[in-house]
Symmetry: C2
Subunit: 247 residues, 2 copies
Amino acid sequence: MSTLAPSPAGAGQLWSPEEFTARLRAVPAERYHDRHPFNVRMHQGTLTPAELRRWIVNRFHYQRFIPVKDALILAKFDDPALRRSWLRRIQDHDGTTEGEGGIERWLRLGEAAGIDRARLLSGDGVLPGVRLAVDGYVNFCRLRPALEAVAASLTELAAPTLMRTRIAAFERHYPWIGAEGLAYFRARVGQGDRDSTEALALVLTGAAGRRDQEAAVAALRFKCEVLWSLLDALETATAHPAPDTPR
Amino acid sequence: MSTLAPSPAGAGQLWSPEEFTARLRAVPAERYHDRHPFNVRMHQGTLTPAELRRWIVNRFHYQRFIPVKDALILAKFDDPALRRSWLRRIQDHDGTTEGEGGIERWLRLGEAAGIDRARLLSGDGVLPGVRLAVDGYVNFCRLRPALEAVAASLTELAAPTLMRTRIAAFERHYPWIGAEGLAYFRARVGQGDRDSTEALALVLTGAAGRRDQEAAVAALRFKCEVLWSLLDALETATAHPAPDTPR
């Protein structure tokens, strides 16, 4: 619960831009989902085809809500120039015409892995923990101030490196997924660099005091927990598949 | 307050598409703000320059929130094609590059009427009733189902006719506002036709039962009340200017 009295932590001195940046960067460095056991196994090449397909189905549930959370963030901005800039993220995922965009590329990843696009779109096989993680992130972007919602997007600081590692891992360990299936990961390398540069600048200039700075760091930590929790659900489903869990 | 028991009205038979369309069209035909005394005087040419400037300042407060409400509506859609289509409305108002779009055109209307754009952007002179009307509309789009938020946009059914009348009235009665100041109104004729056609199709197909149909009609009535209330605030300010009301 919030309080009207300043917290001891909130009474601290403003961090310098350098210290604030370092504290933000430290969050994904320590807590990004590249360290999650499920992701480690994915990149080591030891996932079975069924486990990899289950990840594709569940991660798609996250992907399809990215334009929704970005529209909720856009609605918090009062500056047309800032909205124009953020709107590009919606277009990155929805495309500007039919057959384009990140959601379409993810559907093609599914097809390359043998998952029908109708199956992916149906949401069948999405695990309860994944639904809760995605709902939690979307509602965070719906309900929290613009600064925190933008700061939560800063997992993009770590995403391009993860994408490069993932492309190499898929090419090496899962050649049964054709190269055309990896187009989503390839596109995100450049998009992630651009988006994280933009968002970091917004957070650095938008945090007016130490409390804002701490809220931004906490928001980024929360986002790392969302991504971690999504993989927790997959890890548990692997160890203890429920009767209706896709195998 | 909502109730889990079906209301007597909600138990009625589904209206045919023709009847539903007629009931929707009847709302702005009866309640659109073209009939408001302030708008009638504006189009009759009897507003003083100060009254017209006050309207421009206050209506701008509505204009600047249009992309916000459209982003909130976009966030309700789960179909990328539908989001792509609705995203165009955000671009209509924000533009796709600096110096374009409906908000910029409204700033130019202000300049043509002798109002500095910094003054317009400051929000100085926005009346309390106008703030409440705009907040009410944005929150309606934030909190209500997609069907109702889209139905509320159907005042666009009546907007192109109003725009044509307004352009003629301004050219005739307020020639001190240069023709370049009317670019916003000119652009809205085509945009309003296109947007209302799209939204009407969405509402017709999206209303699954009589309760949905009635909710859509009620949403459009609400939106007419928002626009009416905005002009009420201007009408009162004209009759009883407050000490800090711009004259």
